[in-house]
Amino acid sequence: MTNRELTVLAYELREKTVDVITGAKAGHIGGDMSVMDILVMLYFRHMNISPKNMNDPDRDRFVLSKGHSVESYYTVLAEKGFFDYETYRDSFSRYGSEFIGHPHNTIPGVEMNSGSLGHGLPVCVGMALAGKMDEAPYRVYTVMGDGELAEGSVWEGVMAAGHYRLDNLCAVVDRNGLQISGATEDVMSQEPLRTRFESFGWHVVDCAGNDMDALDAAFTEAKAEKGQPTVVIAHTVKGCGSPVMENRAPWHHKVPNAEETTQIKHDLEEKKEVVKHA
């Protein structure tokens, strides 16, 4: 698939994610929309992960550290063929369902349970270290939120990854600038983010995080980097795809009403068509 086709796919999967959330009347829509392009680029271009190789020790590893974006993550896994989308959509968060509101590794394709922020990166340091010990070819990826970076455990992991020069590790920060209580820079400032990572021995790539070409280039650069881990600081828009929710903090976990849903789906559809015919 071309980057343009992946962009179209990301819009389609956003629509499907909205259906999951409105059906369940639960979910974290803002972060779902900001992270979608990152997940699509990783799963459909850069990572060597599919239902066929899930038992292969050499498969790439992925941990969704910002586990609350489970709705978009599961939509992507369904699209990859790990499970049936309709089954997931119609049971998500419902009574007795296996599809709970955070990633859970009884679900095919999920390596690690998450939901409590600040665990993904240190776990991935362990996975990357194991890869080095075994001289295995796999790469390890994790996606964190920018609000999540306030957790001390993140920086303990950053330090360890720098120390062990884990060039098989690539972390992504979904830098949408918002968390629950408002702007990250007001709640607990993260800047200068690039310098912070650099000072811990990381290679840093800043890129437009809702742009497939930019993401593609960033992950390609990360693969080529030797001797140090890479962080892709993906500058995204929270709620990306519809002005109803874009850059609005309350849309962290708001469930759209009928009217808003119509508008959001209309906006997503429109954006998708524009890309298709560009």
Binding site: E148, Q179, I180
Partner: protein
Amino acid sequence: MHKLPELKTTGNRIPNRQAICDTLMTAAYQDRSVIALCSDSRGSASMTPFFSACPGQSVEVGIAEQNLVSISAGLAKCGKRPYTFSPACFLSTRSYEQAKIDCAYSDTNVKLIGISGGVSYGALGMSHHSAQDIAVMSAIPNMRVYLPSDRHQTKKLIEALLKDEKCAYVRVGRNPVEDIYSEENCPFEMDRAVILADDDNYDAAIIACGEMVRPAVEAARQLKADGISAAVVDMFCVKPIDREAVLTVTSQAKLLVTVEEHSPFGGLGSMVSQIVAAVCPKRVINLALPDAPVITGSSKEVFDTYGLNAEGIAGTVKRFLK
């Protein structure tokens, strides 16, 4: 002993967390040393009004629960009275060592408020459930543990905590709870359980804490209609547990049933059983969450699945009284 309250369904329900915010705001206007701290949790803590009204007495630390608790301890050591809010799941496990060392061991006046406790977060799963908090917090020397049952009791508890200088852990749920008491009739004495019974000759005693007290009272009412007399013990003070209240009901009742929104290990049931077993053995049945990730669902669905509701409690009393 107090009469079993008439239960009203007011419809006008507010969560206990909101009662905390109201009480603290009143206190904060009088006492500049009252400080609230949040970790990107002020909305879920219902503390946005406090943060808006008292910005100089509010501290936001971002998503950093360990930092949150240690900062609170530092503030306390320098004369502040911090009230530290975070979801109970993170506060009791992520910041456990900070609670142990910086609050309890160093003896600082930090009031840890665990919001959205138990299975309040329903389908969000085990990362968001706190079914261990009573056990772990109670195991720390010098840490007290409180689970108030309704908004009236929550208010009285916070008022009492505002007067003391020691650390404590308070757990409240996310959802609005129906009243048990009322503005005029809310018997409260710090660290004394509230014993509710219509007569002295009860056959069973139901010992509950937090949001399980309301269904316990409902169960006692149902049992009464079936000719079984049951007392309810509202053990909001899980630690220091009111031993005397446990012994009082144990000497009268033929059966004790404990009810809690917690793991079956190390919580209210364990503590009550320990007291009863040592002094005057009687049958104690523990109702609690299972030792497993709970079924996916809302907290009500979870309670119904495991019999943590009025029917389940009443049924247990009937079954074991025979």
